[in-house]
Structures are given as C-alpha cells and as structure tokens.
Symmetry: D2
Subunit: 117 residues, 4 copies
C-alpha cells in the first residue's frame, strides 16, 4: 500500500492551486483556520460527559470525523507552506516524550501526564 499521507498531500496541494487559494494560505492564516476547526471539534464534546464522548452514535462519529478531517487538511497545508515533514516531526516529538515520560518498572508512568499541565 502506498503512503496515504503523501497521496493526500499532493491532492490537497492541487486543490488549493486550482482555486488560487495559495494567496490566502499563509502559515499565519492556516494556523488560524486549523485552530478554528479545533474549536468546532470542541463544540461536539463540550456538554458530553467523558463516558458519553466515548459512546458517540454513528452519525455523531461521522460529524466529528469530518471536523478531524478539516484539522488534518489544514495541518497538511501548513506543513506544505512551511516545508515541514509531519511524520519526521512526530517522530522527533515522540523521542522527546519517551525521555520526558519514562515507563515506570512497576508499570506506571514515572510522571503522570496530568501533572504536565
């Protein structure tokens, strides 16, 4: 199977170019659009309990999935404008996280992520 992220990447670039949207898609604007979509994602969950959020109906799941798609679309567009390799960035970040949050020999994280905030 080919790398699906690379395929999306090319398709999203062609989509923006065909509509002459490069002029709107500065990194600053794309970051705003991404954060706007993250806000829409929140709205689906804000009045749900954590339990309810883990038991969405198929229709709710589909709507949430489309918001997630918007976020990934802007993330890919932003990576194109900045020349960032998203996969490499995640790998770098995971290496940082592995050092920062070592696994405890007792099976518990040495430091609980919640304290990170």
């Amino acid at each position: 199977m080919p790398d699906s992220l690379d395929q999306l990447d090319a398709r999203l670039l062609a989509f923006a170019q065909a509509r002459d949207w490069e002029r709107f898609h500065s990194p600053k604007n794309l970051a705003m659009a991404l954060a706007g979509e993250a806000g829409e994602l929140l709205e689906h969950f804000q009045w749900l309990s954590e339990q309810q959020s883990a038991a969405l109906s198929p229709e709710q799941t589909r709507l949430v999935a489309l918001e997630m798609a918007d976020i990934l679309i802007y993330l890919i567009r932003l990576s194109q404008r900045l020349g960032v390799d998203l996969i490499a960035a995640v790998e770098e970040k995971m290496a940082i996280n592995e050092t920062r949050f070592p696994v405890d020999p007792e099976g518990l994280a040495a430091e609980d992520e919640p304290r990170r905030a």
Copy 2:
C-alpha cells in the same frame, strides 16, 4: 515505502498503553488537548505579519513543527478512541469540498473560500 501514518498509529497506541494513559484519553479530553496544542500553534504566529509567517527561521520552524506534531499525535489518538479512519475522513471531506468549491473555467474559484466564514 510503508504507510507511515499506520506506523505512527501503532507506536502512539503502545506509548499510551505502556503509561496507562488510556484512562485519561477519553475523546472529550483528547479533543481538549488537541485544541490546547492548536492554541500553542497560534502563539507562534499571532504577532507576525503574514509575510513573516512565511519566512520563519530554521529554529522557529522546528518549534512550530513540534507543535504540529502534538496536534497530529492527539488527532491520531482521537481517531483510535473513536474508531475513525482519518484518511477516509479526509477523502470524504475533500469530495464535499470539491462540490462546494468548484473550479471556475476562468481559473478562479466560483466562490472564494474567504466568503465561507
């Protein structure tokens, strides 16, 4: 080349499980964490002009890339908890966008995205 998104997916799942973080990672909480990271992304760009945002230094680009990594990490985690296929969701959303924003024969989008807001 194998599908790098799938590889990250498995690695992120193992990372969370090894630290017993599944208990914190409800869809509601992951949506919040993702939006928090989107807020951090904004902070890199908020006082820059659009032009400056397109001319980041290598060090700034690296810091922005790490914020983008955080967003993708939480997006993948959320897709795992909700059983969402991210690539399929982007494909569905792109099909919607292609209908919604047709390419004008004159080479301009029939409807400018900015009017969408």
Copy 3:
C-alpha cells in the same frame, strides 16, 4: 462603585499605547492572541474530571484566574479596536438566547443546550 470594566478599558489602552503595541494589535492578531489564551485555559482542565475541575486548589485557581484575565484583556483590547460595546453585545446575545432557549413551565429548558452542538 464605579464601572470597573470601564476603568480596565482605559488602563489597558494606556498600557498598549505606552509600549507602542497598537501596531501589533490588529483585530486579526488580537483574535489569535485571545484564542491562544483560551488554549492555555484548556490545558489546565484537559486531564481533570469534571468533578476535579470544580475542586481546584487555591494555587490552581489562581493560575486559572490569570489565564482568564489574559482572555478578558484581549477581549477588551479587541472591543477597543473594533469599536464594540462589550456590555451591549452581551445584552443583545442574552436577548437572543432567551428567545432561543425558553424556560419550560415544568422547570426544564424546552430545549437542552447540549443538543445545540
């Protein structure tokens, strides 16, 4: 007691002008800064249960209060740049909400806010 919001308003304007920050404080940039602070607010709550979020320690409450202050500061600055009367805007919005979410004679809202999402 004088109107404390008006007092803050004048003080925030003087603060920005003394530092020549008007040049950075376009409405677009202020909206970004506000959303960035909203993201920081989220980070305090993202791994807490709803119950925990209602039982913060005094120190946590103080940190959250300072994030809320940042949000209000940027909201006031944005209202200055746009010529918006914040109090009047809230009054208009509350009138809309009163029509949209009437109180049920049985003591329950005719339409639960959660369905709004």
Copy 4:
C-alpha cells in the same frame, strides 16, 4: 452608573439556573465552550488581511461582537463556578505585565511583546 459587569453576572447566573444548566456547566465544560467560541471568533478573521480586519462592515462587526459576547458570557460563568473575581484577576495580571514589559524611556517597550511567543 452601576457596575455593568456585576449586573451581567447576576443575570447570567439566573439564566443558567432557570434552565437547570448548572449540571452541564462544570469548569471543565465551560472552558471548552469558551475555547469553542474563541475558535468561532477566529473564523471571522482567518482569511482577512490585518488591514481588512480593522475595516469590518457594520454587519461583520455585529457578528464578531456576538462571538465576543459568547466568550464573555462563558468567562463570567466560569468565574462564578470557580469563585474567581475577574476584575481582580485582570488587575493582578496587569501588575505582572507592567513589571514584565517596562516602558522604555525612549518611548519603546524594553522588550517587544512579539518576542514573548
């Protein structure tokens, strides 16, 4: 003139109580709702230039003002649930900012806010 923020405060509390919304309005949920509204605010500005954002039409300004109202409404609700005095929090934050960003005798800020990010 009475303190308009205090008046809004009482009215918003009565509004939520009459609809039995206190059960949804945990601090965690209110933080999410606030951030969701901040995301909607962004959407008004994301494709505008900074100059355009400073020259909104009356209708655009009204729509933006209503988003700002939503943010202030949730900020006041959150302050109620956490027992936070918003005005005092802004005063504390401004004292911090005055130390952090002293005014330069030459009329320039000693440290430009943009470097803060």
